[in-house]
Every structure is written in structure tokens, then in C-alpha cells.
């Protein structure tokens, strides 16, 4: 890409300059500002970036180099930013030239595994073809393997995946994601995956203060803001919400904010007597949050099958 092939090999490489010019620095800085918390993840990403950069520099000097195995596994609870980081990772790999296109194809078991005999292979292959040149992100990868049903077609998808991960290492990067404990079990029963995955990144749960910062930035992204009282209520909300079942970190926060906006709209609509200003329209007040069922703490969420697993709008 940089015309390394025809010219005589350079004898030195300025890693700093590479770091700047490849756009990696910009990407990592973006990551730092956009993602709140996740220190260990950012650390690992920086390490990975350094490794890839050095590997690329070695290549340009003609030193022996191996295309490093780039397949990864992201483990962590729901809502801890795995998909977001995968997206960033795709950008990183693209900038360093380890994947050609740098798009992210996000799939789950349903997209890979078929319904009847002979359906799985074409389905898996189609997904893989779409992911070529980019990153294939398999969410909740452990569902691929169902030990209780030996005729489950998931095994077939796993075999195709493994084969492609081995043979087409230059063409795509596979990221498996899911809960830590279930991923561990999955790797135990599929040693082929374990050995083909070099980077295991663990996503910690967010701290309460981080979640508050996240809710601020989410609102800002939507053009809303808390007033001071509302922020205090939000902090309490986060604290209480964490103790309730089906807590999904940032995703719970997003749902809570969506409902707060709903209540805010309702409040404005029913109570506003005169014209409302821009500030009024974009302020979330304490009352919008405090009517949440989380605060009454009556019953735990009764129906676990319910997708939006939190309180219903008041």
C-alpha cells in the first residue's frame, strides 16, 4: 500500500509517524472520549494496536513476520459495549491494513444455523461471504453449541466457521461475544475455537458513576439534558436498578432514558398551558424519572421472558 514493495527496503521505521499517519491514534482517541469506563478493554485495544503496528513495521523492513491471529472473544455482561468496541476494532484493523474493507457483520445463531438438514452450510457460507474483508461478530456464540442435542445443526456451523477461520485468516476476523461463564464452557467443549482465538478481552460491568456519565452522554447525543435534581434522581435510579433482576448495564440506562423522554413528552403535553421553549423541550426533570417503578420497588420484574425487562412506563 505504501509502495513498500518496489523501493529498496527502508532501514528504519518511525513508529510514531506510522501511528499518526495510519489514523490509529485518532481512532484510539475517539475510543477514549466516546467510551466511558472500560479501562481494561481500552488497555487491551491499545496493546493490540501496538502489536499490529509493530508487526506491520517489521513487514516493511523485510523482517520475518506472521500475520498474527486476530480472532477474538469478547466476554462480558449485556450492555457492556461489546458491539461498540467490535465496531471500533473493525475500524482499527482496517486502518492498519489487516482487513480490506473494515465492515462489521453482526450475527447470532439464527443467522448461521439452518432449520433442516442441508440448510446450515449454505446459510453459514452466505454470512461468511458477506463478512469477507471485514469483521464477523457472533453475538452469544455459545448458542451455536447445544450439547444436549447431538443432532443439532450448530455443530455443522461451527465446523465451517473453524475451517474458514483457519484458511481465510487474511480475509476476515471473527469476534465471538457472550457472557463470560458460558463462553468458558463453550470453549471447553470446542477446543478448536480456543486455540484459534488469540485475544480474549473481558468487559467489566460499569460503575454507577460511569453509568451516570453514560446517561449524560446518551442524552446529549439526543439533544436532551438533565436538570440538577434529575441527575441526582438518575444516580439513585442506577443504584436501585442494579439490584433488580435483568440489569443490562448501559442498555438498561438507554431504556430508562427512552421512557423518561416518553414521560417528559407526556408531562409537557398534558401540563403545558402556554407555548414551550427549546429549553423546556429538551430538559428531563426529576419527576420524569422518579415515577419509574424502580423506585417503588414493589415486585421484582415478574415476567423474565419479557424483552424490555424493566418497569413499564408509568
Amino acid at each position: 500500500m505504501d509502495g513498500e514493495t518496489e523501493a529498496p527496503l527502508p532501514t528504519t521505521v518511525d513508529l510514531r509517524a506510522e501511528y499518526e499517519s495510519s489514523g490509529v491514534r485518532q481512532l484510539l482517541e475517539e475510543l477514549d472520549t466516546e467510551l466511558i469506563g472500560l479501562k481494561p478493554v481500552k488497555e487491551r485495544l491499545r496493546e493490540t494496536a501496538a502489536l499490529l503496528l509493530v508487526e506491520r513495521a517489521r513487514k516493511s523492513l523485510g523482517l520475518s513476520h506472521h500475520t498474527p491471529t486476530l480472532h477474538m472473544s469478547f466476554t462480558g455482561n449485556p450492555g457492556t459495549g461489546k458491539t461498540t468496541v467490535a465496531l471500533k476494532m473493525a475500524g482499527l484493523l482496517k486502518r492498519l491494513g489487516y482487513v480490506r474493507k473494515g465492515h462489521l457483520v453482526s450475527v447470532t445463531r439464527d443467522d448461521l444455523v439452518g432449520q433442516y438438514i442441508g440448510h446450515t452450510a449454505p446459510k453459514t457460507k452466505e454470512v461468511l461471504k458477506k463478512a469477507m474483508g471485514g469483521v464477523l461478530f457472533i453475538d452469544e456464540a455459545y448458542y451455536l453449541y447445544r450439547p444436549d442435542n447431538e443432532r443439532d445443526y450448530g455443530q455443522e456451523a461451527i465446523e465451517i466457521l473453524l475451517q474458514i477461520m483457519e484458511n481465510n485468516r487474511d480475509d476476515l476476523v471473527v469476534i465471538l461475544a457472550g457472557y463470560a461463564d458460558r463462553m468458558d464452557k463453550f470453549f471447553e467443549s470446542n477446543p478448536g475455537f480456543r486455540s484459534r482465538i488469540a485475544h480474549h478481552i473481558d468487559f467489566p460491568n460499569y460503575e454507577n458513576s460511569e453509568l451516570l456519565a453514560i446517561s449524560d452522554s446518551m442524552l446529549e447525543g439526543q439533544g436532551y439534558h438533565f436538570d440538577d435534581e434529575a441527575r441526582a434522581v438518575m444516580a439513585k435510579y442506577i443504584d436501585l436498578r442494579r439490584q433488580q433482576p435483568h440489569f443490562a448495564n448501559a442498555r438498561s440506562i438507554r431504556n430508562a432514558l427512552d421512557r423518561a423522554r416518553l414521560r417528559q413528552a407526556n408531562r409537557l403535553f398534558t401540563h403545558a398551558t402556554g407555548p414551550v421553549g427549546a429549553d423546556e423541550l429538551s430538559t428531563i426533570k426529576a419527576v420524569d424519572l422518579s415515577s419509574s417503578r424502580v423506585f417503588t420497588m414493589g415486585r421484582p420484574d415478574s415476567d423474565p421472558a419479557e424483552k424490555h425487562d424493566e418497569e413499564t412506563p408509568a
Binding site: R100, K101, H103, L128, K129, K130, M132, G133, N168
Partner: protein, 129 residues
């Protein structure tokens, strides 16, 4: 006899790299690639056998090249062509088509003259191996 159908057919056979860059071009235009094969290259044989469905939503030519490799494994001694489908008009139209694989010995096209109605001639073609 060298069959000349579709793009590039008067050029020497494309190498895999060249095929790959043509596919890259097609994908950059948002076209979907379908692979077809046949052992009968008669000009009137418009519909060749499909090798799977046309491939939509690809980003990278590698996916197509993998299918081509598979198709060659099974039908290496046939004609294989790529059709690029453009959907801008609301239906899929073949906008580009080129042969990517030929049999080792290509069949000939023989012209048959038939006399009808006095001395008028009817012409037809058939593929001869």
C-alpha cells in the same frame, strides 16, 4: 473454437487477480454477482445453470472467488461466467457478464444450411464437440 460471449472475451483469459478486480468494480457499483455454468455455449442457450443464488450484500470479492473455486472444483471443464445484476431500476438487470472459466477443449459451432422452398437457404447452428 474460442467462444466469444460477454465482456473481455476477445482478450486472453483473465487471471484470478484480474477477475477479482473486476468483481471489486462490480461490488463498488452495488451490483450482485451470480455464478452460472454450462457445457453448451450455443448463443441461443441464454440460461445457464446457476451455481447457487446470486450473492447480494457482499463487500469484498473474496466471497465470490471462494464460490468460483468451489464451482471450478466441480465443473472445472465447463464454461463458468459471472453475471453482475444491477437493481437500480427496481428489478435485477444483468449489466455485465463475463466468462471466467473455459473447458480445455472448446466445442465448435457448426453452421447447418438447409434448402427449403426451392433453393432458399435456412441457416442454423449447433455445438459440436
Amino acid at each position: 473454437m474460442r467462444i466469444t460471449q460477454g465482456c473481455f472475451s476477445f482478450l486472453p483469459d483473465l487471471t484470478d487477480d484480474q477477475i477479482s478486480s473486476q468483481v471489486e468494480y462490480c461490488l463498488s457499483k452495488g451490483w450482485a454477482i451470480g455464478i452460472e455454468y454450462t457445457d453448451d455455449p450455443h448463443p441461443r442457450n441464454t440460461y445457464w445453470e446457476m451455481w447457487g443464488n446470486p450473492m447480494f450484500d457482499l463487500q469484498d470479492p473474496k466471497g465470490v472467488m471462494m464460490e468460483l473455486a468451489d464451482c471450478r472444483k466441480q465443473y472445472g471443464d465447463s464454461y463458468i461466467r459471472f453475471n453482475a445484476f444491477d437493481s437500480t431500476r427496481g428489478f435485477e438487470t444483468v449489466t455485465m457478464s463475463f466468462i471466467v472459466n473455459r473447458p480445455k477443449v472448446e466445442p465448435k459451432l457448426r453452421m447447418i444450411r438447409t434448402e427449403v422452398d426451392g433453393r432458399s437457404q435456412r441457416y442454423s447452428f449447433e455445438t459440436v464437440r
